[in-house]
Amino acid sequence: MILSEKGWQTVFDRIKTWARVNSPWVIHFNSGSCNGCDIEILATITPRYDLERFGVKLQGSPRHADILLCTGPVTRQARERLLRVYEQMPEPKFVVAIGSCALSGGAFHDCYNTMGGVDQVIPVDAYIPGCPPRPEAIIDGVVKLLQKLQQGEKAEVGDQKPGELS
C-alpha cells in the first residue's frame, strides 16, 4: 500500500514527536538567579535524582538544545543574552521557568535591575514554582512538559502567528 502525501506526513510527525519526547536535550541559562535553583538543577541530573533516565541530557550549546531551563528574575544585563540564547535554539523550542524569581521576580520583584520573570522576555511553556524548587518538582515539571509534547499541544512554536504566543 502506498501512503498518500498526507499519510507520510502523519508518519513523519509521529516519528518526530517520539524522538522529541524520548530524548530532549536541555540547556540551562542563569539570568541573574541566586544559584539556589541552579544547584538544584545540577542535583537533578546527578545520581540521586538522575533526570537522564527520561532521556534528558544537559547540553552546553543552545544550537543543540530543545528545552531551555531558565532561572532567575532576568536582570537588565542578562536580558539581551537570554534573548540571544533563545534565538539561537532551533525550532521547535520550549522554555521552562524554574523558581519563584523566574516566575514573577520573587524576592527581587522590586529591584531596579530586574525585569520580573522570564515570561516578560520570552514565551514560557512550563512554570516550576519554589524557592528553590526541590529536584522532585523540577523532574515533575519536565515530565509534564514532555507529556504535553506527546499530546501534541503547541508542538510547533514556530507555526504560531506572532501575538499568539503564551
Binding site: I27, S33, C34, R48, T75, Q77, A78, A107
Partner: protein, 366 residues
C-alpha cells in the same frame, strides 16, 4: 607598536552563557596559539540591586532578602547580617542559638565544598568524581533538610537567635551522616593526590605564590592553599567559634592540587567541629527579644563564608529600615587572581583555574 601587539593575537570571548559554569560571567582571553597572553573579565550579569532594595524593607524582611544573595552560602549571608544588626541593637543572641548558627555554618561549608569538588572535577574532565561527590553531597542535604526543613535557603536565623532546635534524633542522624562522609572524604583526598591523569591537570598548574596571594588580597581557601594563614573564624571569632575553634588548614604549594587538598582537609575539620558542637551544645533559650527600631549607628560584620571572608557594612538611623547595607563577597577579592594566573597557561587550563577559586557570580554581583 600596534602592529606588533596585533600580530598573531586572537581574542576568544567566553560567556555569559557557557558550558563551563552555571553562572553568567563574560571573559575575553587573548591567545597566541594555545597560550593565553591576556585576560579580562566582565561581571555584573547577575546584578539585581539587592543593596538598594534593602533600604526599602525593614530589618526583619531583609533577612529573607540577604539569604537570597547566594543560594550556596545563604546561611553565611544571613548570619553576617543578623550578627551585624544584633551588634547595632546591643543584643547578644543566647549561647545555644550561637552554637546552632555555627553548626549550620559548618554543615553549609560541607555542602559547599562537596559541590565545589564536583564542579571543578567536571572542569578537569573527571565526570566520575563529579557524580560521586554530588551523590555524597545529598547526605548533607538530607541532614540540612531534617534540621531546618529546607535543602537550600535554610532560614535558620532570626534577629536575636535562631528558629530551629537540634533534637537528639537529628543529632544521631548527623553523627551517622558524618561518619559516611568522613570515609568518602578520605577516599577523595587519596584520589586528588594520586590519580595520574587528574594530577596532570592540577599539579603545578595555576601556581600562586604566597607573596602574590598577599599582594592580590585573595581570601579563604584560595589564600590558604598559597600558605596565607587567614581565617575569620580564628582572627575575629563570631557566633560560637570562640568556644569551638577550628584548625587552619594551610598548604604552601599554591597550585590547583593544593586547593583541592586544602578544601578536602577543611571538610574533615568541619566534620570534627560539627561533632564537637553537637557533643557540647549549650542549653538554654533560642531567641532573645529584639527591638523593632535599631539604634542609629554603623557597624561592620565579618564572617568566614565557604569561599572566604564575607564582609557586611550596616548603617542605621534609628528607624525600622536600614540606611545602607553593603556586602563585599569573597569572589570579588579572588577574581583578580584568575585574570593574573591565566596568563601563560594553555586555554584548556583556564576553566580549572577559574573553578579553583570557587567563583560565585551571584554573590559577587548581588
Amino acid at each position: 607598536m600596534q602592529t606588533d601587539t596585533q600580530r598573531e593575537r586572537f581574542t576568544i570571548p567566553i560567556g555569559p552563557q557557557h558550558p563551563a559554569l552555571k553562572e553568567p560571567g563574560h571573559f575575553r582571553f587573548s591567545v597566541d596559539g594555545e597560550i593565553v597572553t591576556g585576560a579580562t573579565v566582565r561581571l555584573g550579569y547577575a546584578h539585581r540591586g539587592l543593596e538598594k532594595l534593602a533600604e526599602k524593607q525593614n530589618w526583619v524582611q531583609n533577612i529573607y532578602l540577604f539569604e537570597r544573595v547566594c543560594g550556596i552560602c545563604s546561611h553565611t549571608h544571613a548570619t553576617a547580617y543578623c550578627l551585624g544588626v544584633e551588634r547595632l541593637a546591643g543584643v547578644i543572641a543566647p549561647p545555644r542559638a550561637q552554637a546552632i548558627r555555627t553548626l549550620v555554618c559548618e554543615l553549609e561549608r560541607i555542602h559547599s565544598h562537596l559541590l565545589w569538588l564536583g564542579v571543578s572535577a567536571h572542569e578537569a574532565g573527571f565526570d566520575t568524581l563529579f557524580m560521586y561527590s554530588w551523590r555524597d553531597r545529598e547526605t548533607v542535604m538530607d541532614l540540612l533538610e531534617a534540621l531546618t526543613g529546607n535543602r537550600v535557603n535554610y532560614s535558620v536565623n532570626v534577629l536575636g537567635g535562631v528558629k530551629v532546635d537540634v533534637t537528639e534524633e537529628i543529632a544521631q542522624a548527623i553523627y551517622k551522616g558524618l561518619d559516611f562522609l568522613e570515609e568518602r572524604t578520605h577516599h577523595y583526598l587519596q584520589v586528588v593526590s594520586s590519580d595520574a591523569s587528574f594530577l596532570q591537570r592540577a599539579r603545578g598548574v595555576g601556581v600562586m605564590t604566597r607573596q602574590q596571594a598577599e599582594v592580590m588580597g585573595v581570601v579563604g581557601p584560595t589564600a590558604r592553599a598559597s600558605g596565607v594563614t587567614r581565617d575569620i573564624r580564628i582572627e575575629a571569632p563570631y557566633a560560637a567559634y570562640a568556644d569551638f575553634p577550628p584548625q587552619v588548614i594551610v598548604d604552601e604549594r599554591g597550585d590547583l592540587e593544593a586547593r583541592f587538598v586544602v578544601r578536602l582537609k577543611e571538610l574533615l575539620e568541619s566534620y570534627r567541629l560539627v561533632r564537637e558542637i553537637l557533643a557540647r551544645l549549650p542549653e538554654g533559650e533560642l531567641t532573645v527579644r529584639m527591638p523593632r527600631r535599631i539604634k542609629s549607628g554603623e557597624t561592620v560584620s565579618r564572617v568566614e563564608a565557604p569561599r572566604g571572608e564575607l564582609f557586611y557594612f550596616l548603617k542605621s538611623n534609628g528607624t525600622d529600615t536600614p540606611v545602607r547595607v553593603h556586602a563585599r563577597t569573597p569572589t570579588i577579592c579572588n577574581m583578580t587572581s584568575v585574570v593574573r594566573l591565566a596568563v601563560g597557561h594553555q586555554l584548556a587550563d583556564v576553566p580549572l583555574i577559574l573553578a579553583g577559586i570557587d567563583p560565585c557570580f551571584s554573590c559577587n554581583d548581588r
